[in-house]
């Protein structure tokens, strides 16, 4: 009799649990799983918004166009009359123009110049059917690796500072939360203004005073500085998050082991590398994963500061969707981003495997 009642009770409990889970499950199906499925499906079509053309199944054509690359040799130009190799005034060999060498892809899309390089004395051109997207992948990964690395190192430094006792510690901790709390849209605008290309901008004023620039340096349009600007802003905004996570990790390390080590005569540096760092590893692993996945899908910063002049992976996909109304093509780009993020997760799981929590 009692067991029957207990069974009844646990059945009732499970029923309540499912009932309580239902709203969340329905919402997540509606806004995550269903749209994810529809994005995968749309990525194999040529669907466009407000287009009279009927939507057709195109297989992997979108992916082929996004990722299509070819390598072609750039032959030296020959003088038509003499057959001799042409040289410019400095005596350098003149090579064929990449545009004349690059063919069309099987779908009839022209390969465009992504980059040129020289290998064993021969000049090659790397052509792509969508150079902007491949560049966006490269830029985003470069941005992610450098900024996450910097954030981790600086975050750890700040966490160590905050871990010691000093006057104004609480104030500093509060101040550090502000960059984190401000919308990226707002902070992007603030930094954009500081990096203005004349001396109305803070950095050009300082640069000129220090004799580093002529006061006209185009930080935001110079292709060499663009990624570094993104990194500077991102590091400013997210190092506090990293520091606070690592600080929480530091605070979980029992102080007694430090005292023991001090008694044993271990130096500060030794204590840091053989005790603090290993014990901080689980926290750091989680923080790294969070930040990397976050940085890979960077959108606000690139879209606001650069618009269409330089893309992150996400802003490329956005512009395809909104400006070109290319639902199918944008979806394919999104799927590729999704896969790249998954690859990073797998990489982390492999590298950090043993230390990940639970």
């Amino acid at each position: 009799m009692a067991t029957v009642k207990l069974q009844d009770l646990s059945k009732r409990e499970a029923k309540l649990a499912y009932l309580l889970l239902v709203p969340s499950i329905i919402i997540l199906i509606l806004i995550a799983f269903y749209p994810l499925g529809s994005v995968f499906y749309a990525s194999t079509t040529n669907r466009e918004f407000a287009s009279p053309r009927p939507t057709e199944y195109v297989g992997l054509q979108n992916y082929a166009k996004l990722l299509g690359v070819t390598v072609q040799e750039l032959p030296p130009l020959e003088d038509e009359a003499t057959g001799a190799i042409m040289r410019d005034e400095q005596g350098n060999i003149v090579f064929a123009d990449a545009f004349d060498v690059l063919p069309r892809s099987r779908q009839g899309v022209r390969y465009r110049n992504l980059t040129e390089f020289t290998l064993f004395g021969t000049k090659y051109v790397l052509g792509a059917t969508e150079p902007a997207f491949l560049r966006a992948i490269g830029d985003t990964i470069q941005f992610t690796v450098i900024s996450v690395l910097l954030e981790t190192v600086l975050g750890l430094l700040i966490a160590l500072v905050l871990h010691s006792h000093f006057k104004g510690r609480g104030a500093l901790r509060a101040v550090m939360l502000i960059p984190w709390a401000v919308p990226t849209a707002v902070s992007s605008r603030m930094w954009e203004w500081m990096f203005a290309s004349s001396r109305v901008g803070f950095f050009n004023v300082i640069g000129q005073q220090l004799g580093l620039t002529d006061g006209q340096f185009p930080f935001l349009t110079d292709s060499g500085s663009q990624i570094w600007i993104m990194i500077i802003i991102d590091v400013w905004k997210t190092t506090p998050f990293m520091a606070l996570l690592l600080l929480a990790g530091l605070q979980m390390i029992p102080t007694s082991i430090y005292e023991a080590a001090r008694v044993d005569g271990a130096s500060t540096i030794r204590r840091f590398f053989s005790m603090t760092l290993p014990m901080l590893k689980p926290t750091m692993a989680v923080a790294l994963v969070f930040r990397t996945l976050d940085a890979l899908r960077v959108f606000d910063l690139f879209q606001i500061v650069f618009g269409r002049s330089r893309f992150s992976m996400a802003s490329f996909s956005y512009y395809q969707l909104i400006s070109n109304r290319a639902m199918g093509y944008s979806s394919a780009a999104s799927v590729i981003i999704f896969v790249i993020i998954l690859l990073f997760i797998l990489l982390y799981m492999k590298v950090l495997g043993g230390t990940s929590h639970e």
């Binding site: 649990a17 000093f166 939360l177 109305v200 050009n204 992976m313 996400a314 999104s334």
Partner: protein, 289 residues
């Protein structure tokens, strides 16, 4: 003896310099925004830019509030604030209600598939929004859904899994005896949840609610995309990103900075008042996870 004393002092000095540097680095962009927001159009265009608003001729300190007056006359910005308040508050409340339901189930009740659903929720907390962007946008357009409502629904993508995850660990921490004593008293599990456990989770609700609110208030990708066909539904980050002044000659950075300051101030107040709660919520999502 003297030498070691000098070493201690240098160390202390270095430490102070580091702290001062961190402080300046973190706050300077805000200072520059405030500085620029108090300048007139002419002052903003002065070269070299001045560290405080100065009169172009006499170089005397002369701030102006005209940018602030301008942005509060700017209907896009004011509407943006109202939209943001509505969207972020509603999204937070819905996420807390459904999130606490689910978290109670996962933290305190026994049922089949619990571990699986926990892992699912954890992986959802890192779900990239861009992966569903075109799908959601297509749904909204084909069904002609109201943009603000759809924004609220789509914000569940990041607020709901996060809320569930943090609250679950909180519910787990509450003693099981509470549930049992409730049962002995003849209360249904739901009554126990609603009248006994939920009040106990109030601090955790505040923390997660705050973080969900900030995330929703700051969200940009969905807001920008979904309001592209409905400018009157733009939230404040979108309004600031697309800001155009009363006279659209060039980008009115004085006004943009004023808008940035206005949006930042409430967040700064939130951060200072709830500092501890925010930090514990942030780290609960990651460290204890």
């Amino acid at each position: 003896m003297n030498k070691s004393k000098a070493l201690v002092i240098t160390k202390k000095l270095l430490f102070v310099i580091v702290i001062v540097y961190i402080f300046i680095h973190m706050t300077f962009p805000f200072y520059w925004a405030i500085n620029s927001s108090l300048k007139s159009e002419t002052q903003v265009q002065m070269q070299p830019a001045t560290m405080i608003p100065r009169d172009p001729q006499t170089l005397e300190f002369s701030p102006t509030l005209q940018n602030y007056q301008a942005i509060f006359r700017n209907i896009t910005f004011v509407r943006g604030i109202l939209n943001s308040v509505f969207v972020a508050v509603t999204a937070t409340v819905i996420a807390l209600v459904f999130g606490s339901f689910a978290a109670f189930a996962m933290g305190k009740l026994r049922f089949r598939g619990k571990t699986g659903s926990l892992y699912l929720i954890l992986s959802m907390t890192m779900f990239p929004q861009i992966a569903v962007l075109s799908g959601l946008y297509a749904t909204m357009r084909t069904l002609n859904l109201p943009v603000r409502g759809f924004l609220i629904l789509s914000y569940m993508l990041f607020t709901l899994p996060f809320t569930i995850w943090v609250l679950t660990s909180f519910f787990k921490g509450l003693p099981d005896t509470l549930l049992e004593s409730g049962q002995v008293d003849g209360a249904t599990p739901f009554q126990t949840f609603f009248f006994i456990l939920l009040p106990l989770t109030a601090p955790a609700l505040v923390t997660t609610g705050l973080l969900a609110f900030i995330a929703a208030w700051n969200e940009y990708l969905f807001a920008l995309t979904f309001t592209s066909i409905a400018p009157q539904a733009r939230t404040v980050p979108v309004a600031i990103a697309l800001f155009s002044g009363e006279m659209a000659m060039q980008e009115p950075f004085g006004e943009i900075m004023a808008a940035a300051v206005v949006v930042t101030v409430p967040l700064i107040i939130l951060v200072f008042v709830f500092q501890r709660k925010i930090i514990s919520g942030l780290t609960a999502g990651a460290v204890k996870g």
